[in-house]
């Protein structure tokens, strides 16, 4: 049967994939997806631990995280829309004139 270690390794794997997406994709929306993946990896951990520890705390945490992730997605997308209106593109590479 699936032990805690497998769940944690899936969570860690999912976290790393999300991180790589964030680092190497140019499109802002895909970066957002990467971030969502990372958040869900944390959810997997929470649920896995909650199951292993027996209490319900982990699951409650997971639900809170889902709500927060939704709010974050809303805010992030709103800003990306604004970015599109001004720079005409969603490519993160273009937003680079603030530097030095």
């Amino acid at each position: 049967m699936i032990t805690l270690q497998e769940y944690l390794s899936v969570g860690a794997l999912l976290f790393t994939v999300g991180l790589l997406i964030v680092l190497f994709r140019q499109n802002a929306i895909s970066i957002l997806m990467g971030i969502e993946l990372m958040l869900n990896a944390a959810n997997i951990n929470f649920v896995a631990f909650s199951n292993a520890l027996g209490g319900l705390t982990g699951q409650v945490l997971a639900i809170f995280v889902v709500v927060a992730a939704a709010a974050e997605a809303a805010v992030a997308i709103a800003i990306i829309v604004l970015l599109y209106q001004n720079l005409g593109t969603v490519d993160v590479e273009k937003a680079r004139n603030l530097n030095g």
Binding site: V22, L23, R96
Partner: protein, 625 residues
């Protein structure tokens, strides 16, 4: 009369010789800068009060007033000036026969010079400043002469150096005068360095620099030699002995009264006075005496040769002064400080006479050149000419005049105490002295040629009485001072009256006459400007001043200024460079790190994760082990 020499009288006499000059200086500088007449009056008033109190003190010392036998104890007045735990310095006066003698010389000559400068400086815009500096000089010279310890001597030694700087550079608008003043001050300062180190060494060894205890110091021989030689460095600087004498001829840029007072009679002899003051130190070591003797003789000889080839009347007397100073120093080196002091005494008068005479000639002819003065009727100036002749006779050392007696005493001392070779060289210098002094006389004695702008009749009229008066007084002094030779030894140290040594006097006089004849032969008749001596090829060396001036110029330009250029270069490029370097590296590091801020979000995240993993791995390692 008794209360005159009571404690109150004595102290007011003592202060009487010291403070008037400084008060005069202060008054003139602060208030009388524009009223020259008033400045002159204040200065001469101060000079006369000091002269009066000196004469009174001299009378006291002779015991004439109270009929005391022998010499009164040295009156001293001291005030604790500077005290540290290892030594205490008194500031005050010490009046024993030696200092009273010097006082007379200083006060008489300075009074006469002040009177003389009324005429000489007539019409010069800076006269008030001139008199201020003169009274400052006389004051500090007096302070030097009466100082009880080596520190106070050093203090006034420097002040006197300052006054010579100010007075040589009095006509500051002449570039040569400014350069000569600087040269004089720096060169004497270089000599004072030795004196300062000697003073410090003495303080370090004994913690006491009072002259009265010099006898009882009991220093080990090596240390005594070292200290005396260092003090002798100061003397070389101030009394312009051989290597450091180049500043004195250049000091002739100053007004002639200044040359007469400072560079003939008073300041330059301060060194000789210091020698005889610290005689116990020098006598304690043989090598020191030998060194002093050799320097004296070399200076005398070198200066005499240079005097023979000079065209400028003041330069001749300047080199003659250097030569006579050499005489005094070699007399001290020969062991008899008494002879050197007597020579100092007589030399002050006739050299002041010669200088003031030269001043009168220049004042009349407007040029320093001997032949120019002769052409402009130098002979016609009756009093000036004949007083100069008297001076020249005394300088050459012919019998009735004071020069003869003092030079004779020196020759006796050298003959008895030193190697015959020294004696022969001193005699030869005597011959040279006679030659150059009468070379001047014979040139001046030439007939006045009819030249443009010269009043006809029996030649130029003489200088006003205010200038010729002092000449006459000095001539009188030159003649009769010699007679006191016998009593001088007794006055100084109570020794029995010295008899005249004929076995030394006759050859000396013969050599002097020989010199006069040679001078007469080469310059007596006709307009020749070259004497037989001048044509000798060897005379080229003295004409180039033994290449000393070039050597000093090379030292200052190449070594001193070269090294300062090196230091400035190091300072600007290495020390400053290091500081700017640090600043630039900080700025460079800042700009390199700011490149990390590229503006791209993902770049940030990459670097973030990179550093984060390094940090995490590092922490992981520390946790593991």
């Amino acid at each position: 009369m008794a209360e005159l020499y009571g404690p109150l009288g004595l102290s007011c006499l003592l202060h009487g010789i010291f403070f008037p000059y400084f008060i005069a200086f202060g008054v003139i500088i602060l208030f009388l800068r524009r009223w020259e007449k008033a400045a002159m009056a204040v200065s001469i008033l101060a000079s006369s009060t000091v002269l009066a109190s000196t004469l009174m003190l001299f009378a006291r010392h002779q015991g004439l007033a109270a009929g005391h036998e022998g010499v009164l104890p040295a009156a001293t007045y001291t005030l604790s000036w500077l005290s540290t735990d290892s030594a205490a310095f008194q500031f005050g006066y010490i009046l024993d026969p030696l200092s009273v003698l010097m006082l007379i010389v200083v006060e008489v000559v300075s009074f006469l010079v002040q009177v003389y400068s009324i005429g000489y400086m007539h019409g010069d815009p800076g006269r008030a400043r001139f008199y201020a500096y003169l009274s400052l000089f006389s004051g500090s010279m007096t302070g030097l002469v009466v100082s009880p310890n080596l520190l106070q001597t050093y203090i006034f030694w420097e002040l006197v150096g300052l006054c010579s700087y100010l007075l040589i550079g009095f006509w500051w608008h002449k570039p040569e005068a400014a350069a000569a003043a600087k040269k004089a001050f720096v060169m004497t300062r270089f000599g004072d360095l030795g004196l300062f180190i000697g003073l410090l060494m003495l303080l370090h060894a004994k913690g006491n620099a009072a002259f009265t205890d010099f006898g009882t110091l009991g220093l080990p021989a090596g240390l005594a030699t070292c200290i005396s030689l260092l003090i002798f460095c100061g003397v070389i600087g101030k009394s312009s002995q051989f290597p450091l004498h180049v500043w004195l001829p250049d000091a002739m840029e100053g007004p002639t009264p200044v040359s007469a007072l400072i560079h003939a009679a008073t300041m330059v002899v301060a060194g000789v006075y210091l020698l005889s003051r610290s005689a116990p130190l020098f006598l304690a070591s043989e090598t020191a005496m030998l060194v002093v003797l050799s320097f004296g003789v070399v200076t005398a000889f070198v200066a005499a040769t240079m005097a023979c080839v000079q065209r400028d009347i003041k330069k001749v007397w300047a080199y003659s002064t250097v030569s006579q100073l050499g005489y005094m120093v070699l007399a001290f080196g020969a062991g008899s400080s008494q002879a050197s002091m007597f020579h100092l005494f007589t030399h002050a008068f006739y050299k002041a006479l010669l200088f003031l005479g030269a001043g009168s000639f220049i004042h009349h002819a407007g040029s320093n050149d001997l032949f120019e003065i002769a052409r402009k009727g130098g002979r016609g100036m009756r009093i000036t000419f004949w007083t100069t002749v008297i001076g020249a006779l005394a300088l050459a050392g012919l019998p009735p005049f004071s020069g003869f007696f003092s030079k004779d005493a020196i020759l006796v001392a050298v003959k008895e105490n030193c190697h015959p070779l020294w004696y022969i060289s001193v005699m030869f210098v005597g011959f040279l002295t006679a030659y150059y002094s009468f070379r001047v006389v014979f040139i001046l004695f030439r007939k006045q040629e009819a030249g443009p702008g010269v009043a006809h009749g029996h030649g130029g009229h003489d200088s006003p009485l205010v200038m010729t008066g002092p000449l006459m007084v000095l001539a009188l002094a030159t003649i009769c001072v010699g007679a006191w030779e016998g009593g001088f030894g007794h006055y100084l140290s109570g020794a029995p009256h010295g008899a005249l040594h004929w076995d030394v006097a006759i050859p000396a006089t013969f050599l002097a006459l020989l010199g006069i004849v040679l001078a007469g032969a080469s310059f007596g008749s006709g307009g020749r400007e070259e004497g037989v001596l001048d044509r000798l090829p060897v005379m080229e060396i003295p004409r180039r001043k033994y290449y000393l001036d070039d050597f000093y110029y090379w030292v200052t330009q190449k070594i001193v200024l070269g090294f300062s250029f090196l230091c400035a270069y190091v300072d600007r490029h290495f020390v400053d460079g290091a500081v700017n370097g640090v600043a630039d590296t900080v700025r460079w590091m800042g700009s390199q790190w700011s490149k990390m801020q590229t503006g791209q979000v993902q770049q940030y995240l990459n670097v973030l994760i990179l550093i984060f993993s390094i940090l995490g791995f590092g922490v992981y390692l520390t946790v593991k082990f």
